[in-house]
């Protein structure tokens, strides 16, 4: 389940997230960005490296997923 979210209409397409993604799971065009769910491991390195807080880790969704797993 993808727990990393991209806040709409805020990305500057700078590529920090793509550079730090160990799974090659982020695709960036001139003004389009998407996370490839099948490759993403929710490691959150992209979240930490985003200079303008566009990428966020959805903690509630993570907690829900954990509860369901239990």
């Amino acid at each position: 389940m993808l727990l990393i979210e991209i806040k709409p209409n805020r990305c500057d397409f700078c590529g920090c997230c793509v550079g730090v993604c160990p799974e090659n799971a982020i695709e960036l065009k001139e003004s389009e960005i998407k996370i490839i769910e099948e490759l993403c491991t929710n490691c959150a390195k992209c979240v930490w490296s985003c200079p303008i807080e566009v990428l966020v880790f959805n903690k509630e969704k993570a907690k829900e997923a954990k509860d369901v797993a239990k």
Binding site: V20, N24, L28, S49
Partner: protein, 390 residues
């Protein structure tokens, strides 16, 4: 519109890519550059500062792409002690938008073909050798073959990864930056200002680089280790509020600088990497225009020689050539960076206070550096190790 095959395909039309193209074209290679953005040179994700020496190796300084001439640094410690450092060598703040265009024109005039809005999304690999690219243009997918592909696709590079090179940036080495170009800022138009310390940019620095009268690039970078807790943009908002509350923000832009040593391999059969994509940024200063162009020059020259002699594997010599020219020096800079990263505010203050006792005429970057080292003997030992082991 383009041929089915070129000697060399370059992905990315920044300074590293167009410089690689220019030096390869001068030796007779046929070249295609594919740029994903609509414009060459825009958007500008760069502080735009460069030294005279860094510039002159490639292009004569020209007012049309120079926004400011720099003759001194102002280094500001956490307790607001200002250290003035006159520069031995002139520096410039560029107008990258014009500068990148100029480099692209020089390459084009040598026969290099450049296409913008061409998004490379995969490589063609045959017999474990890169021999072309796949790209999207005008909503359609295309393929073009080549003998060599040069990845000049920046901090967000994926070309190397597709070729099997291990190229991703450790989040702690990624300096995530945000910069505004501001007007109505009260600064000296010939001074580059740096602010150090935990208030401004922990594990990084904040810069104010003038761009003509009362105008400047103001930006900062923080490592991902800091960004975890607080983003670069929050730090910049605080600074602007406190130091330049009346400034107008003409541009605001984000960007990443990989402040690390060069990747272990920057070439493989049929593929070479240059610039940010290869981690050729000076890891201490974060400056990457000149070093990217140097990487481009070496790669372009070797690639063209490989094509001319029909011995494509000759491109594997590129790693050594780069390391001899700059790569090894960057290893030392990286160790120094690690040392400085561990300075606390008190240390920055004490260095500033003691350096301010040095008479103005004796102040050089070297003397400042010596001063900083004597304030921190453990760093001195670390640097000595780098010099004396191997």
């Amino acid at each position: 519109m383009w041929q089915n095959e070129y000697d060399i395909i370059i992905v990315g039309a920044g300074p590293a890519g167009t410089t690689a193209a220019r030096f390869a074209a001068a030796k007779g290679a046929s070249i295609l550059i594919l740029e994903k953005d609509r414009d060459v040179g825009y958007p500008v994700r760069c502080g735009e500062a460069i030294s005279l020496g860094g510039l002159k190796e490639f292009i004569e300084p020209n007012d049309k792409f120079i926004a400011a001439k720099i003759n001194k640094f102002s280094l500001n410690s956490p307790d607001n002690t200002e250290v003035i450092l006159p520069l031995e060598e002139a520096g410039f703040v560029l107008e990258r938008r014009v500068f990148d265009y100029e480099l692209a024109r020089i390459a084009s005039n040598l026969g290099v073909k450049i296409i913008t809005r061409a998004y490379v999304n995969d490589l063609i690999i045959e017999n474990n050798k890169v021999c072309g690219v796949k790209f999207e243009y005008n909503g359609e997918q295309h393929t073009v073959k080549s003998k060599i592909v040069i990845g000049a696709d920046g901090v967000e590079s994926r070309v190397g990864r597709w070729a099997g090179l291990n190229t991703y940036t450790d989040y702690r080495d990624m300096e995530s930056c945000v910069q505004v170009t501001a007007a109505n800022v009260d600064i000296d138009p010939n001074t580059c200002y740096f602010y150090l310390g935990s208030e401004f940019a922990p594990h990084g620095y904040l810069w104010v680089f003038p761009k003509g009268e009362k105008s400047a690039n103001i930006g900062l970078g923080v490592s991902g280790a800091v960004g975890k807790k607080r983003s670069a943009s929050k730090y910049l908002e605080d600074f602007m509020q406190k130091y330049h509350p009346n400034a107008s923000i003409l541009t605001k832009i984000a960007g990443g600088v990989p402040c690390a040593i060069t990747y272990k391999s920057i070439s493989a059969p049929g593929i070479m990497l240059v610039g940010d994509a290869a981690h050729q940024v000076n890891p201490l200063s974060g400056g990457g225009i000149a070093s990217g162009m140097i990487g481009g020059k070496i790669a372009g020259t070797i690639a063209a020689e490989a094509v001319a002699s029909n011995k494509i594997d000759y491109i594997l010599e590129y790693d050594k050539a780069w390391n001899d020219r700059l790569g090894k020096r960057h290893v030392i800079f990286d160790r120094i960076k690690d040392g400085i990263y561990n300075f606390d505010d008190k240390k920055f203050n004490s260095i500033a206070h003691s350096f301010n006792k040095v008479p103005m005429e004796d102040r050089t970057l070297g003397s400042l550096f010596k001063n900083a080292l004597f304030n921190n003997p453990s760093l001195l030992i670390d640097i000595a190790k780098v010099f004396f082991t191997k």
